[in-house]
Amino acid sequence: MSTDTIIQTEGLTKVFKVGFWSRRVTVLEGLNLEVRRGEVFGFLGPNGAGKTTTIKILMDLIYPTSGHATLFGRPIGDNQAKARLGFLPETPYFYDYLTAAEFLQFYGHLFSLRGALLEQRVTELLELVGMSHARNLQLRKFSKGMLQRVGIAQALINDPELVVLDEPMSGLDPVGRKEIRDLILRLKESGKTIFFSSHILHDAELLCDRVAIILKGRMVACGRVSDLVGQSATQSVEMVVEGLSAEGLEHLRPLAEKFVTQGSQVLAVLKNQQQVVSALEIVRSAKGELVSLTPHKSSLEELFIREVKGLEPGLREGQ
């Protein structure tokens, strides 16, 4: 393991005992994960897939049934590793009797930050998350978005190298989500490693260097977003042409997978690069006008849905 490995798990498994009869439920099975220094890593999966369980194991909140995990090459629970870590739990509830400033001061004390240094840090962080105006307001008066922001400030109080965020975007409005995205990118620029879980794939696609997709406690895909999407993508190109002659139309029709005429415009969906070249040649010789040429990549969401369906045969389209 290199020093650039920040999070590593090997065969991480968690079995919960539920109910009076201690029925065993496996929520995480043999998870192998590696997160490297400086990357934004998205941990994706539907609700109940085991994302929060994994994060709780990494945060020393629950113990794995089997398997092993390290943070900064140290075993989970090690205080030196925890000192380099920041964590925002899912739907955080904080000490609502504290004001925003008192709240951050309290967490600063846990890292032995004191005096002027702590004051400066609190002021900086409140500014970073745009909460300076609410400095002396009790958290019980905060909206969900505001709580999320001071929650992030709390996770950054010790200027951590690794920031773990559990569903940081859930329950936020589009503006709030964009702000969190911008914040994550700013953290990345300052050299931090970010590990976050989400079921909002669009956000992950915009932010992540690498993602892992987890379903029913098992990892089904892991890698760069472009690789994952590229591998399984059936790429197509959508071409819109105007003023094409009847002869040109006749030549174009057999090339296209989908062919729609609307007024003087034609929309043709082409399967591969060769067809695009041929189609462009036809348009040029028939003196048509190219309105647009849009390549369609399959999104992470399509990949995700395909994986979910693959794992759950009952979940077909329309059901």
């Binding site: 909140l61 113990y63 205080n79 964590f87 504290l98 309290f106 004390h109 846990l110």
Partner: protein, 253 residues
Amino acid sequence: MRVLSIAFNTFRENLREKLLYNLLIFALLMIGSSVLLTRLTVGEWDRLIIDLGLSSMNLFGILIAIFVGISLVSKEIDKKTIFTIISKPVPRYEFLLGKYLGLVVTLLINTAVMAAGLFVVMAYLKAPFTPMLLKALGFIFLEFLVITAVALVFSTFTSTTLSAIFTLAVYVVGHLSTDLKLFGDKMGDAGKAILNAIYYVLPNLERFNLKGHVIHHIDVPATDLVLTTAYGLTYAAFLLLLASIIFQRRDFQ
């Protein structure tokens, strides 16, 4: 230092949740009864006011120790505030110790203010002040230390309702344990063994009750004071250790 930060935060929570408002009830009780007693009772009213003062201090403190004590940890788990603490470099036992100390400081201040109230009423009624009163107050506080630790142990592994029931049961049986042992001695082997076990395992809380001594001006030997203090502190320390062991092993779901 981390323990103290958590203790201070717990104390601050108690203040802001207006826990110390119980002092107002105590104050009203003291003033009201002192006015009534001086009018109604012939003689002996100084004993009555001391008895009433100490009893209500004990009652208020025990209620706080039980009902705030059982929620010390469970509230943090229910509200998920514990997630942000344990993921920081704070060993679990430090968290537990901090929560315990926070409530103990609250109880200390609560008891001190009540004692001051009692002293004022006693001075007003010109009731004689004896050093025994201070010893009794110290022992009342010692009982709080033990009961808070009992509540903490239960709250580390069971629900709030069950913790309340169990802690109340320990409190009641703890005051009856000497009687239980005497009762057991008259029973058959099995009954005797069970009641003896209860006597030795549960705290003997009657040892902390010096109200009778204050009222009847009976002194307590110094060795008894030292032994009972050592007993209370050791018992509380043992419970904290037990709570730490249970807490260290549990998952926060």
